[in-house]
């Protein structure tokens, strides 16, 4: 059995990256990309605020205080109060939970449906692919915002319907992306090997090939989170989104806009800043992910 000894000698590959080295590499990357690091911090903060909103709010977001109507920012009300005497900071904090969770839910739903449909469509090809592609074309023919408007206008503007509208605007991009990736990976040898050992085709597509299609999807989904927040705010702004008593960044901006000429600037600036920061943070993280996943851009700058 000298054969065995030789085989052991063949296989000296201990170049597996240790976990500590991986963390060190991540830390170095963050130091080199302070903007991305800041964006990650902003998103972490937003998530923290969203989760602990009830604890963090200094006042009840929906309880009017007749003694403090339209107060400018002060120590008692850091971001001022609105026309009903409700604390703007508390309302922005309260809205964070809603805005982020709806955007997240919409993205996750669109992602799951898009992955499965795109994977099967790309793997199977033929008439399945043809029909899926035509449906995607129909969805894509509408500008995203018009599509979202149409859906909420038709279904009514409940929270669930807004989420449905948002995920419908995201869906075609995921389907196209996964389908394209699938066309690439299905010709890889391990795909054929998976078929040759008796896997049914759906399992080859979803279990063996789909994971290989995910990297570009993470980029798309991160960018989509930002767009989802923006679209939801825009829907509320024009009155087709979340209904009024509930605090929401877009509807707060819309309410505040009516005070624009009378000078109560804090009513529309602060919710607007919340929207811009969130969208910007998700876009920056999405771009950073794209750079990280593109080997040609890796290590540049």
């Amino acid at each position: 059995m000298s054969v065995l000894a030789q085989d052991i000698a063949d296989d000296r590959d201990d170049d597996i990256v240790a976990p500590t080295a991986r963390w060190r590499r991540a830390a170095r990357w963050l130091r080199r990309n302070p903007v991305s690091a800041a964006a990650i911090v902003v998103i972490s903060l937003l998530v923290f605020v969203a989760v602990f909103a009830p604890v963090l709010e200094p006042y009840k977001p929906d309880v009017p205080d007749p003694m403090a109507v339209l107060k400018p920012p002060s120590w008692a009300h850091p971001l001022g109060t609105d026309g009903f005497g409700r604390d703007v900071l508390s309302r922005i904090i309260d809205a964070t939970t809603l805005d982020l969770s709806i955007a997240l839910a919409a993205t996750l739903v669109a992602l799951s449906i898009g992955m499965v449909v795109g994977a099967l469509s790309g793997y199977r090809g033929g008439w399945v692919d043809l029909i899926v592609l035509r449906l995607v074309d129909v969805l894509m023919a509408f500008p995203a915002f018009v599509l979202a408007m149409g859906i909420t206008a038709a279904l009514g503007n409940s929270i669930a319907n807004v989420a449905i509208a948002l995920s419908m605007t995201q869906l075609p991009a995921y389907i196209r992306l996964v389908r394209g990736e699938m066309l690439r990976v299905r010709t890889l040898e391990y795909a054929e090997a998976a078929v040759s050992i008796g896997n049914p085709s759906w399992r080859v597509a979803l279990v063996h090939l789909l994971p290989n299609c995910l990297p570009p999807l993470t980029v798309q989904a991160t960018l989509a989170m930002g767009y989802a927040v923006l679209t939801m705010a825009s829907l509320s702004f024009i009155g087709l989104g979340i209904a009024p008593p509930q605090s929401e960044w877009g509807s707060m901006t819309a309410d505040g806009a009516t005070y624009m000429s009378t000078g109560e600037w804090w009513l529309f600036v602060f919710p607007g800043v919340a929207i811009v920061m969130t969208v910007l943070a998700f876009n920056l993280v999405g771009d950073a992910l794209r750079d990280l996943l593109d080997p040609r851009l890796r290590g540049t700058r």
Partner: protein, 325 residues
Amino acid sequence: MSALLEVEDLSVEFATDDGVVSAVDGVTLSARAGEILGIVGESGSGKSVLISAILRLVRPPGRIVSGRLRFEGNDLLALPEAELEAIRGARIALVPQTPRTSLNPLMTVGRQVERLLRLHRGMDKRAAREAAIAMLERVRIPDPKRRAGQYAHELSGGMCQRVMIAMALATEPRLLLADEPTTGLDVSIGARILELLRQLGEESGAAIILVTHDLGVVAQTCHRVAVMHAGQLSELAEVDELFERPLHPYTRALVRSIPRIDQQIALKPIAGTVPSLVNVRPGCRYVRRCPDALAACRRQRPPLIVAGNGHRVACHAVGQSNVVR
């Protein structure tokens, strides 16, 4: 020994823009339990297509146009896809040409063996895991527990091929298709892989079809040999018989082209190349390269004739002369 797999008059065609490519043309052969059948031929002789046809995995635009495939009494060409899925990987297993890229890059090799066992054996997770490690040990992978937790890119080519063999044999298939299993490996590791295949084949009593273009490999490992040229079967014989008494002009040329270390003779390369298989004319496909070509060779395809015990050859010239006893 009875035949485990019978391939009868099998033809595979590819519809291309330039015309119909006849990749496999009327091949008839059989594999018996416990034997290693070698299939040799130059590149483009249809060996690999024949292998994928046996698993009915010819991809479009390729198509099995005629013939019969009998395996354990089933007509593989008539089975519904679902029943075929139960045969692939369980009763007929494939050892691929390129082991590393044939493994899922995002799954540890151990899990891939496990999944196979769970798919075909219905084992639970724990049993599958133990069986997978036992299997890796059986193909002589040192430290199988650690190796099972690694990914394909962390293993050498030889190790990956051992994993593929472990997967192929895990379900105790009756037929093992090895499509040039040593191409991507260096010579010494290739030799060990072949030895392993031979041993495991003997232990399990499975039939092995070994595709190769290396006659040395054939001489060392196979019991019987099928020689293919341009999609057609030229000759089929026991391995000793083939090397001692090659009848087909192509086989003779192949045997002459083996370098020999003990004799100072110039190698004789085979004249010409494998002919284009697009819109082929009838007749023997070796005719343009053949020194013994007759007029009949251009007109009519030579039938497979019996030329001794278990020795078959498809050549008009052999039939005419008195080579046949």
